[in-house]
Homo-oligomer: 413 residues x 2
């Protein structure tokens, strides 16, 4: 059999994606499938049903990670793994995460119907709570499995309604008996939409990121002095929102000041008492800085932090900063990344060697085994929004490259 | 009887203020007595009970305004009115509004126990919904009574829980049968805390404002483009929060740019989707500008609006602006204001000719009759906060000046 000529069934892939998109569908064409919600459970149930149709061995660990095992010719060899996540952002899109799970499923279905037996076993994975928008931080399932995060610490994470991670995991029936923990892995692949505009701008179909940018999260808390706005002269005011506004602009100018290669964003702000005729006396905002170069971010943060202190001092608004989360940049396995570029060429798809700005489960997997990702274009670069979209031909292309990459690694002795 | 030597009972005034402060008391020493809430009803009931103890004629109009009528020697003469409001900000203070109602009540109690009969009748007033923090805009009771606002329009105002003004007025039992509407008034006095730092800074006890600053409220709506922050380059972003931050600083610099005599504040901001790893695509914020000079504000707004348009255009964030509320400055009656300064001198209190930065029911009353206000110092200039405070001696001083002002006007034939 000509394994190199094997292609996935694009119609079946599309059908699976469309059926998944009905679970948690939002009015404007997106999905809301928050981790450990009823929608997450429903999508998991469907995924497990589909795995059973392929006669796979199914394991659910005590983090709720779902693994489907397709035996190889020699099961003493370490497996090839491929997967992503089923959970979504609030009002997220129909491709983020689920494309990598359905793409892997489609590759396995193709192997199944063609009765292909590989040397090594192949494991498909759905990682719990990749988004981190219900339970912060992100990538909790792969974090515990890879040995980076502590399971009991994760169990105690709570959402905005004070629901505990473990309780919600139990509630939806996905707290498995198997302790979550890594095993030797020959290669890990994750297929994902780019979530940025680069592939579209360059007119390429397949992206092979050399790795994932580092990520630094900070939380800034400012205090001011509340007062009736009318009778309080401008001089002597301690307006926490004005201080925050100055800081937001400093942060916005930071990438240019550092000579590029950096993105910096304030996505979230809370203002108190938030009444139109009272001077704000409390502001909280977040800072997200990313770059390929970890030390570049630390240098940038040092500058920014000095600016923040100066602004806070000048405006008489005491500042408190929390360093919420730091993930070092992940350099993917060079051999696997080159392999993906080679497969793209062989299968006739244009490709681009690039970086990933978004975090993925692949970043934790990269710490324990050779890892690579496959990107396809996001229309208009839009993601984490309901209008997130990717052309069906591109979904097909990525799944074909994934199929060939899995085959190649799974047949290595 | 030496009417000029008549003084209020400061202990009784303090007791009344302290009893009122138990209704809607907050943990940090303030009060929350939102208009037409259960707490407002409870405070109104207590006020009406106290009016009855003075044998006053009580009228409640269909706006819920409460009037207590103390007959004069000649009831064909137009009355002297004095009052303020019982409602408070959310987490407001124990003096804002209620001091003017309790101060007038104390003046009437003093006249009552001394069996003083004045030429003209005296009417004490509690105006409904002065704060505007539950039902916007502010000063609805005096607005309808003075003929400035339409009653049915006010009835349809809703709070954040979509409760209608009229329904809530009926619910608490304060929709009276009397149609709300003005009658001829000889003089209107309103006794209030300053809500600013000027009296304290100048070391004066009694403030006699020449009038109230004009007030302009605007609502600004910005649109941006949401995206995952990591993979989206800085260039080409349309970050609505960065656009808002620039506008907030422009607004903050406006008073200095206009050469003073102006205060400008952004008190409220909403950011969407308000997630730390998504670029903000929608921001709403408020602008509050005040000055003695209406045309000065209009000129300032014109400049600011041009800046806003430039910022919105440069950042690719479409802008929409609503002109929410405009109140022209109110110039109080010169004779009454001078009268208050004179009384302060006679009674031995230091005084200051000043302006009021905050809006008051006096501003609508000023449109229909000779009006003046009496201010006493706010400790640290703090107001609309739980720590709002005024020294008991100053509360007493203001009530004594009010008593003498009422007496003087009520004995004019």
């Amino acid at each position: 059999m000509d394994l190199k000529g094997l292609r996935i069934n694009s119609k079946r892939l599309r059908n699976s994606l469309e059926e998944m998109a009905t679970i948690g569908a939002t009015p404007n064409g997106g999905v809301q499938r928050l981790a450990l919600s009823d929608e997450d459970k429903k999508a998991r149930d469907l995924f497990v049903k589909w795995l059973k149709e392929l006669d796979m061995g199914i394991t659910i660990d005590d983090m709720g990670n779902i693994f489907g095992n397709r035996p190889g010719r020699n099961d003493s060899l370490s497996p090839v793994m491929s997967g992503s996540h089923i959970d979504s952002q609030p009002k997220g899109g129909r491709f983020d995460g689920i494309l990598g799970v359905m793409g892997t499923l489609e590759a396995l279905r193709t192997l199944h119907e063609n009765k292909v037996v590989t040397e090594r076993p192949i494991i498909i994975a759905d990682w719990t709570n990749e988004e981190g928008s219900r339970f912060a931080p992100a990538m909790l399932g792969s974090g515990v499995w890879s040995g980076t995060l502590d399971r009991d610490w994760v169990y105690d994470r709570t959402d905005n309604n004070d629901k505990r991670f473990e309780d919600e995991l139990t509630r939806i029936g996905y707290k498995g008996s198997e302790p979550s923990g890594k095993w030797p892995v020959h290669a890990y692949y994750e297929y994902h939409i780019e979530q940025g505009p680069v592939l579209e701008k360059e007119g390429k179909i397949i992206g092979a990121p050399k790795g994932i940018l580092c990520l630094h999260w900070y939380d800034v808390y400012l205090e001011g002095e509340a007062n009736q706005v009318g009778p309080t002269p401008m001089e002597g005011r301690h307006d926490a929102l004005c201080a925050a506004a100055e800081m937001i602009l400093k942060m916005n100018e930071l990438p240019q000041r550092m000579g590029g290669d950096l993105v910096a964003t304030v996505g979230e702000i809370q203002n108190y008492p938030n009444s139109r005729n009272i001077i704000p006396d409390k502001v909280h905002f977040t800072v997200d800085i990313r770059s390929w170069d970890d030390s570049h971010v630390l240098k940038a943060w040092e500058l920014l932090r000095r600016d923040f202190d100066e602004i806070a001092g000048r405006r008489g608004c005491p500042i408190r900063i929390e360093e919420t989360w730091q993930v070092r940049h992940a350099s993917f396995d060079e051999r696997l990344v080159k392999g993906i570029l080679g497969i793209a060429k062989e299968t006739g798809y244009s490709s681009l060697y690039m970086v990933s700005g978004a975090g993925h489960d692949a970043s934790y997997m990269n710490r324990i085994c050779p890892t690579a990702m496959i990107f396809v274009p996001s229309i208009g670069g839009r993601s984490h929004v309901e209008v997130e979209n990717t052309r069906w031909e591109d979904c097909e292309a990525g799944a074909n490259v994934l199929l060939q990459a899995i085959l190649q690694s799974a047949n290595e002795k």
